[in-house]
């Protein structure tokens, strides 16, 4: 059994502080504790002092690669802590030429999955004060005593779906890899929806999408949304109407998903940050599934050298429409 995630911080700190002090990097993107014990927020560390706040715990869900495009404008060389999904996000940005590989040092963190606070409080049953972790278990510390649960049962949905917990790209892998996971029901919810009659499926999406606030958090957090100006904000042409009504909700979400065709790295961040709980990954996974079926297995973000499926073709490609 590998050391607990909570014990790994010592090594993480040691490695990154060496690089920061030696000037190998100008800035370290890591995590620090937020207002609550169950939140870890981004840390922008430039000094040893800053590094004292660095944490690596079961709440470091935020993808730090997403901060690179902005930070690279002001820093020469940046170090980033990357989990499996963050590393794929980095490859997405790399392939889209948003970041330059040589200006980033990636510290790879094999990730056991991040905990879902909503699940923690639900399981706790009483006021939750904190947690401890031991041997694949999580001990919930509540007003009414302690409760021990399997760690795997308390993971975020995106982590339960995760196929590649280990970073696929890094300069230094800080801990031994955990190995890929097989998740046999990756497309289960997509398949269930596919079974429905068209009208019911439309009703399903109309209902789900009706909650959309058009806050665009899904876009903000997404590693494939790297446009300087998103189509939704453009005025000429006005692709996206502003009204909160089904037609415009569909427009936004279908186009958002379509823009991820062959590009979505399946990190699940959009769905995680959606404040109204729209199952956005069902749209993204539908496209992943179809591209796999039609044009061969492809996982975006694994290998930036591999050509994305929409940028290439084979003369004998199949089509999803009946050619005559």
């Amino acid at each position: 059994m590998a050391e607990q995630i909570s014990e790994q911080i010592i090594k993480v700190k040691k490695v990154v502080s060496q690089d920061l002090l030696s000037g190998r990097i100008d800035l370290l993107l890591g995590w620090e504790k937020g207002h609550f014990w169950w939140q870890s927020r981004p840390l922008f560390a430039r000094s040893e002092e800053d590094l004292e706040r660095l944490v690596w715990d079961s709440f470091c869900v935020i993808n730090l690669s997403r901060y690179l495009p902005d930070e690279l404008k002001e820093n020469k060389k940046i170090g980033v802590l990357v989990k499996g999904c963050d590393a794929r996000a980095f490859n997405r940005l790399l392939q889209d030429r948003i970041v330059e590989r040589e200006r980033v040092i990636l510290y790879g963190l094999p990730c056991p999955g991040m905990l879902d606070y909503a699940l923690l409080i639900e399981e706790a049953g009483a006021a939750l004060k904190g947690i401890a972790e031991r041997n694949g278990k999580v001990i919930l510390q509540t007003d009414e005593g302690e409760k021990e649960l399997l760690r795997d049962d308390l993971l975020l949905a995106k982590c339960r779906h995760c196929l590649h917990p280990d970073p696929v790209v890094y300069d230094q892998l800080l801990f031994p890899p955990l190995g890929d996971r097989e998740e046999l029901e990756h497309f289960k919810s997509v398949e269930e929806l596919e079974e429905l009659p068209a009208d019911e499926r439309y009703a399903y999406w109309e209902k789900e999408l009706s909650r959309c606030l058009r806050c665009y958090a899904c876009r903000q957090v997404c590693p494939y949304c790297s446009c300087l100006e998103c189509f939704v904000e453009q005025k000429s042409p006005r692709w996206q109407g502003r009204a909160y009504q089904p037609s415009e909700n569909f427009m936004f979400h279908l186009v958002r998903a379509y823009h991820g065709t062959g590009r979505c790295i399946d990190c699940g961040e959009c769905e995680r940050v959606c404040p109204v709980g729209i199952p956005l990954m069902e749209l993204n996974r539908k496209l992943i599934k179809d591209i796999n079926e039609l044009y061969g297995h492809y996982e975006a973000g694994l290998d930036p050298e591999q050509e994305p499926p929409l940028l290439t073709y084979r003369p004998a490609d199949p089509a999803a429409f009946s050619e005559k």
Partner: protein, 155 residues
């Protein structure tokens, strides 16, 4: 504004918007005319240089504005005037068509066809067939922006 105008889907023929590539399918549609073939008048063609020009947002916009069916027609694979445009559109529009269906559109609402400049008969037949299928489905209300017709007509 009357209720009927607010819901223009009532009491009208289906509208099919056909995006045709200039070199093959638009010429095929012209040939259908030159050969005096008949197909329903609810089919309206928009000329584009190549099926590779089609941004799926054009298709979605057509559904928003009241189209009951949308067709993209291009040269047969291998015959693209620009050599690779339809190979690219085949991938893009295949993915997009599946996504549309996943969102709840009936498969018949959005079609892609390869129609050459010599296939005037095929153009007419496809338009007949698509119209018949969409008549059977009835007007499309999915993604329709009911405000569009009334807003524009009241100008």
């Amino acid at each position: 504004m009357s209720a009927v105008l607010n819901d223009p889907a009532v009491g009208r023929k289906p509208l099919i918007v056909a995006f045709c590539c200039n070199w093959c399918s638009y010429a095929g549609a012209d040939l259908a005319g030159t050969s005096r073939m008949h197909y329903p008048s609810n089919v309206k063609v928009i000329r584009v240089p190549c099926s590779g020009r089609i941004n799926p947002m054009f298709v979605l916009r057509a559904f928003q504005r009241g189209a009951d069916g949308v067709l993209v027609a291009g040269c047969h694979p291998g015959d693209c005037h620009y050599s690779t445009g339809n190979y690219h559109s085949r991938r893009r529009l295949s993915a997009f068509k599946r996504l549309l269906e996943f969102a709840g559109f009936e498969p018949e609402r959005f079609e892609v066809r390869w129609i050459s400049a010599s296939e005037g008969d095929k153009f007419a037949e496809e338009m007949e067939a698509m119209t018949a299928k969409i008549m059977a489905l009835g007007p499309n209300r999915k993604m329709r922006d009911a405000r569009w017709q009334s807003k524009s007509l009241s100008k």
